[in-house]
């Protein structure tokens, strides 16, 4: 978008616009720097992601090492900082490793759905007419399922497992992303500057890439970022129902399910995986809200 403006604006006019010439992303960065709440949650999010990536180096114990005599021990027991789970495995190590699987299962489907759904939406919005009707009516059908139900239906029918869970979540996220992209594309397509570009003989490929995508990417990315938190909650939910990751893999939802049986012995351990999910999803939502505010050029 910033390039689109600088390409068409004469240099003299750009100077007239005022001293604070930052460009679009510059403005977004500038606004974010002065938004302590958003910065705080972005920091937490980065820490969670780093902890998951570097879990092999950070984890004090082997997350698969079981011990019959050390089951469900409280935090601080013999070097187990957060205690042990129902099979005597170190909780902290499993939470750290669990972040890898849970975050992947929450984020990857959103990324794939952004590419597929966003792409379909741009095609539908740009082509209009029959193509638009075809794509959007198919999306309407998938829209007719509550998201949890659709995820459960597809992964349940496919027989569970991490990969099937991710396929199910991808299918859940394609329709809403497609709708956002379609709306944004339809709006842009009817603007004068797109007509102007086409009238000057710009090839469709260039108009799509330069004029349309530059304006559609913003809303689609903001929307996608708000879906990641939903993705993490849904992915953990699938594992919680026994439809996602299989034991003994460490995954926050699966840990929650296994430790649920132990609430009478070790209630704290049963609450811990959920706290990890909660911290991640709150940070993701707050960061996404802050980003939305910073990227809103009209305010």
């Amino acid at each position: 978008m910033s390039t689109a403006i600088s390409d068409t604006t004469p240099p003299a006019l750009a100077e007239l616009a005022g001293p604070a010439q930052r460009g679009y992303w510059g403005t977004v960065g500038y606004r974010l720097r002065y938004d302590p709440v958003t910065l705080f949650f972005i920091t937490i999010l980065v820490l969670v992601i780093l902890a998951a990536i570097f879990s092999p180096w950070l984890a004090p114990n082997d997350p698969y090492q079981e011990s019959i005599i050390r089951r469900l021990k409280p935090p601080g027991y013999r070097g187990h900082i957060l205690g042990t789970d129902e099979l005597g495995r170190d909780m902290l190590s499993r939470l750290l490793y669990g972040g890898r699987i849970t975050l992947t299962m929450g984020i990857l489907p959103v990324l794939v759905a952004t590419l597929i759904g966003g792409g379909l939406g741009v095609i539908a919005g740009f082509a209009g007419g029959f193509v638009n009707a075809l794509i959007m009516r198919i999306m309407d059908v998938f829209y007719a399922f509550p998201s949890v139900l659709l995820a459960v239906a597809i992964s349940g029918a496919m027989g569970g497992g991490a990969v099937n869970g991710m396929i199910a979540l991808t299918l859940v996220f394609i329709p809403p992303l497609c709708r956002v992209a379609e709306t944004a594309t339809t709006q842009v397509r009817n603007l004068d500057f797109v007509d102007a570009a086409r009238a000057t003989g710009a090839p469709v490929r260039l108009v799509l890439w330069h004029h349309v995508l530059g304006n559609v990417l913003g809303p689609v990315l903001i929307y996608a970022s708000s879906l990641i938190s939903v993705g993490i909650i849904l992915a953990s939910g699938l594992s919680f129902l026994g439809l996602g990751v299989k034991p003994p893999e460490p995954d926050w939802g699966l840990m929650l399910n296994a430790l649920r049986q132990a609430i009478y012995v070790s209630p704290l351990a049963a609450a811990m995986p959920g706290i990890a999910i909660l911290i991640t999803s709150v940070s993701m939502n707050m960061a996404s809200d802050g980003l939305r505010a910073a990227m809103d050029v009209r305010s």
């Binding site: 009516r137 198919i138 309407d140 059908v141 998938f142 007719a144 399922f145 509550p146 998201s147 949890v148 139900l149 459960v152 239906a153 597809i154 349940g156 029918a157 496919m158 027989g159 569970g160 938190s229 909650i233 953990s236 939910g237 919680f240 129902l241 026994g242 439809l243 929650l256 649920r260 609430i263 009478y264 209630p267 049963a270 609450a271 995986p273 959920g274 999910i277 909660l278 999803s281 709150v282 993701m284 939502n285 707050m286 809200d289």
Partner: protein
């Protein structure tokens, strides 16, 4: 108005058919042949063939779909593999419990969130607005199955004040605490997400209305603030009611996790048991019914909203 209702009804038919196709296709997503789940692994080819003909699986897919649709249309969803009972009967027995849970949750969520959102929307940007917005974000970020477990730990395990799971009996009696107490924790858990969503909608609707010129006029005419607010709320209500209606549909289909945590004998719990036992007929039937309820709620909300506010009628 009448032609509008008719148009919306007609537009819902292809959606409902599409939903039924997705549900029909679920069986074919399942790994392996549907027949293999019914037969022992060492069954000979002749038995497999005979069973295939019996279930009509040797016919082309469109024909299979149409005959399935014809059976479903008269309420025949087949039999449960796990219990042998008709799927329709299983769904009928559990659906009422989910309707109860979802409707009570949505009504309670609405009463809490509407007050919260109104307070926040009147003073957009104030500290109380920040708190309400914070609670709303927390509501939609909470994994509600986890909240359910935490509530069980606090109120059932530690305080022993409320039952951890289940339901008192087959027939729900809303006048006895014996029955009502089972509803408290599931309802609270399930209402968290709608509280967040309804509070957000109310906040933005109220703050938008409060900035309109007619509010300034009312104030300039010397109306007391509570009467100004009454006018504002009347204008802010339709979008909030619409979101509330949509949330009911979402909860009907999305209560599976909470019902599993509390072993609440509703359609979500039925679904969760069907997944564990790989009971595909129950899975398929329940999902179809819940999705159709979702489509119907969306349609009703749409019609209701366009009655309240004719400007938003869709073409």
């Amino acid at each position: 108005m009448f032609s509008y209702i008719l148009r919306r009804l007609l537009a819902a038919i292809p959606i409902a058919l599409g939903v039924s196709m997705v549900c029909f296709a679920l069986v074919y997503l399942a790994p392996g042949d549907p027949i293999q789940t019914l037969l022992p692994p060492d069954a000979d080819a002749e038995t497999v063939d005979r069973l295939k003909r019996l279930y009509g699986l040797d016919r082309p897919l469109p024909i299979q779909y149409l005959s399935w649709l014809a059976r479903v249309a008269v309420g025949d969803f087949g039999r449960s593999i796990a219990t042998g009972r008709p799927v329709a009967e299983e769904i009928r027995r559990s659906l009422g419990n989910t309707v109860l849970l979802a409707s009570v949750s949505v009504l309670i969520a609405f009463s809490i969130a509407f007050v919260m959102g109104t307070i926040a929307g009147r003073r957009a940007g104030s500290w109380i607005d920040r708190i309400v917005t914070g609670i709303a974000v927390l509501g939609v970020s909470l994994p509600n199955y986890w909240l359910g477990i935490v509530l069980v730990i606090i109120f059932a395990v530690e305080l022993m004040a409320l039952p951890a799971s289940g339901m008192a009996g087959e027939r729900f009696d809303p006048t006895s605490w014996e029955h009502l107490q089972f509803l408290v924790l599931p309802v609270f858990t399930l209402s968290m997400i709608p509280v967040g969503i309804i509070a957000r909608t109310t906040r933005s609707a109220v703050s938008e209305v409060m900035n309109q010129e007619f509010i300034v006029t009312l104030r300039a005419n010397g109306l007391p603030e509570w009467r100004v607010l009454r006018h504002a709320l009347k204008n802010a209500l339709p979008p909030v009611l619409a979101v509330m209606g949509l949330q009911f549909g979402t909860l009907m289909g999305g209560s599976i996790l909470v019902e599993t945590v509390f072993a609440w004998p509703g359609s979500g719990y039925l679904l969760s048991k069907a997944i564990l036992t790989r009971d595909i007929p129950v899975l398929q039937g329940t999902i179809l019914v819940l999705a159709l309820i979702f489509v119907a709620t969306n349609l009703i909300v749409d019609l209701f909203q366009s009655t309240l506010d004719p400007r938003i009628r869709r073409g």
